[in-house]
């Protein structure tokens, strides 16, 4: 598997990343009933680019994984509550999740060229996944039936509950932050 494809699939292959992208995407889609989804998507792209750039410049190990889980908890809870939020909240969440995801994606290859290719793939994979989830969530949120909308809220509560349990476990083991 090439470095690019490896990077492209990275956000889907790592459960914490997939969970955070799912929760944020559902939140953006749900909130986009009243406004454009563009600002949080652009904010996510900016955060992700900064995180990946920091990783490319060999930044030291961070607690980005824990921040990503905390972001998944917040986004999942907000999806479950399904309350219309100020756009700034969504933008800030998107920047935070994007940056944390980028910082938590160190490429496990030795060659500089392969590492750069993998990081580009990771960025594209994460962005595409988020856009697809947000668009699907937006479509579901617009349906008149209650089942799809409630189904999304249920999935949001599942994401928040799972991420909360992982954070508690890390806290109990003294590994949090």
């Amino acid at each position: 598997m090439s470095a690019f494809v490896g990077g492209l699939l990275h956000p889907l292959a790592v459960p914490a990343h997939a969970m955070a992208l799912l929760a944020l995407g559902m939140l953006i889609g749900q909130q986009s009933l009243a406004r454009s989804p563009a600002p949080p998507l652009v904010a996510f792209a900016a955060g992700l680019a900064s995180g990946l750039a920091a990783i490319a410049s060999a930044v030291a190990q961070t607690s980005a994984g824990d921040l990503l889980l905390a972001g998944a908890v917040l986004c999942g809870l907000l999806v479950a509550i399904a309350y219309l939020l100020p756009v700034l909240v969504c933008v800030l969440l998107a920047v935070g999740v994007g940056a944390a995801l980028g910082l938590d994606s160190p490429p496990a290859v030795i060659s500089m060229a392969a590492a750069t290719t993998m990081l580009i793939g990771t960025g594209l994979g994460a962005m595409l996944t988020l856009i697809i989830v947000a668009l699907c969530a937006r479509r579901l949120a617009r349906l008149p039936q209650i089942v799809p909308r409630t189904g999304m809220r249920i999935v949001g509560s599942w994401v928040a509950a799972s991420a909360l349990l992982v954070l508690a476990l890390r806290l109990a083991r003294g590994q949090l932050f």
Binding site: G6, A13, W158, S162, A168, A172
Partner: protein, 199 residues
């Protein structure tokens, strides 16, 4: 007008194959499949957990809207709270008894077709959720990926709720109502058996 769905199916199949063929080692430990499968199987092999979760769904279906949709959203979050206090080692007395009593009470609620105010139902179910989360939430096998494991655990619990809701929807018909109430009675009896084992 009919549209061919073939291209979309082919793209989906290719993406699925790529995802399966991918080796997600990179800088992370653990795998989604092993942890998820373990977490998903965990609640399914605990009969006390299974009957209580199904009873929650059955009762939700009896209570109707908004309880039917509210319980599957609230329950995982309250259960996670129970899991957190279990993981952090905060003592909670009578956990096994609480789980057995949850099957008895929830089963009886279904059997008697009880319709208390929503807040009473929510408090009751929430209290039992803490016991279930406490008992099962912290049981992470060594070496399993924590994120995938807990996702599997929560999803399996949610699916048990949805199974209960689906079965409970039979209560719209007279014969189905009898079947659902009988299932509630069976769950309450199972709870009595759990209680005799827990004591």
């Amino acid at each position: 007008m009919t549209r061919s769905r073939k291209p979309a199916s082919i793209v989906g199949a290719v993406l699925l194959l790529l995802a399966v063929a991918c080796a997600p080692a990179f800088a992370h430990t653990g795998s989604a499949s092993g942890g998820f499968a373990g977490g998903f199987a965990h609640p399914l092999f605990g009969p006390d957990h299974v009957v209580a979760m199904v009873a929650v769904g059955l009762w939700g279906a009896f209570l109707g809207a908004p309880a039917i949709w509210l319980l599957p959203i609230v329950f995982p979050l309250v259960m996670a709270f129970g899991g957190i206090i279990g993981i952090l080692g905060v003592p909670l007395p009578g956990v096994e008894i609480g789980i057995a009593v949850s099957a008895i009470v929830l089963g009886l609620m279904v059997a008697l077709a009880a319709r208390p105010p929503l807040w009473i139902a929510a408090v009751l179910v929430g209290a039992f959720a803490i016991f279930h989360g406490y008992a099962h939430g912290g049981e992470l096998p060594a070496g399993a990926d924590a994120v995938a494991y807990f996702v599997g655990f929560v999803v399996a619990t949610g699916m048990l709720h949805l199974t209960g809701i689906a079965f409970g929807l039979l209560a719209r018909w007279p014969a189905g109502r009898i079947a659902v109430r009988a299932a509630g009675g069976a769950i309450a009896l199972a709870g009595v058996a759990f209680l005799s084992g827990a004591g």
